[in-house]
Symmetry: C2
Subunit: 222 residues, 2 copies
Amino acid sequence: MRIGELSRRTGVPVPTIKYYVREGLLPPGELTSPNQASYGEAHERRLRLVRALLEVGGLPVAAIREVLAAIDDTERPVHKVLGAAAWAATRYGGEDAGAPEGGDGDGAADDAELKLARERVARLVEARGWRIDPGNRAAQALASALATLERVGHGGFVDLLDDYAEAAERVARADLDYTARRVAREDLVEAVVVGTVMGDAVFAALRRMAQVDASARLFPPE
Amino acid sequence: MRIGELSRRTGVPVPTIKYYVREGLLPPGELTSPNQASYGEAHERRLRLVRALLEVGGLPVAAIREVLAAIDDTERPVHKVLGAAAWAATRYGGEDAGAPEGGDGDGAADDAELKLARERVARLVEARGWRIDPGNRAAQALASALATLERVGHGGFVDLLDDYAEAAERVARADLDYTARRVAREDLVEAVVVGTVMGDAVFAALRRMAQVDASARLFPPE
């Protein structure tokens, strides 16, 4: 099909499709004449995936490129691709905050909080029997979040960890069951990537909905 | 204390503190002489909160300003402040994607998917007995995520909704219990804001950790 047809089918404007091709998010169409390219089903599917990662997942273009490379690299084992997806979908704090920074201002007190938080995370992993690498990026992100909570005077939040972990296990089991339905390798990997990224958006929305309900019960509006 | 001491205590560089004051995220210090301002405990606490929302919550400056205004507006009922926090912490898709857009390209087919997704969300809310407004932004975000999943060929993800909702209820109950420990209004509101924003980061990290564990069991590395 021509680019206009691809645009019509996916609802993605032609200039945006061209931008994705330039950025390497979408392979170029097959040239049928010097000024005409033809796109197939694979383009349509990839285009929808890019939109999903961008619009709902909120991933930056560079992270999407990384995830797509992992999907397309058939040499890479599935659990490594899951790792790449989790890495890409992990939000890096402050990078886009736009505030000028005057060097590394973290003092010795902050390091002490981070050390304690890492020990807390290690205890949690052990108690849960989770088979994860001690240097796991998500575990580091968790320790960093706990240290920050401590610094802002909300160290007590750590008491919720068991409830959170229990809920996370339930969600992760559902995620993996969904993944395991797939047979073809590309479908499997795509399901992992989409599920990881989109699952965050779905869970965050559900959590807010459930909070509104819980809050209405706890603080009834006048 | 002087700005240098505030910087030392919080690990936030002086130029960054000045930037926050200019952006209205931190009230200016009290002038003790034409070139000297004095900062108190309230500044220190607010500064740590801003860093937390920025670095771990990943909120843009405008959203932080909105959340702080809600905290400081003592006329606003608690459940409205929770609403403001949930709004601010909801990730808006695609705004920072940097892709040129050629107008609204969504066709009739997409509207049909969104309509079905909204009906699915309404059924979920009814089944759960959640007391939320039909126009609730989180419910809209959920419908939008489900419609996108359908468009990228992952409509089957909807089967996980019950597991996700169950887990979300558990987390929301823990969140509200944590909030309810607070007595003073400002503490209560701050706990809601911090918990809402930081809870996303904590849960996303735990979900990835639990996924790695579930994946290692399902796809054992060679």
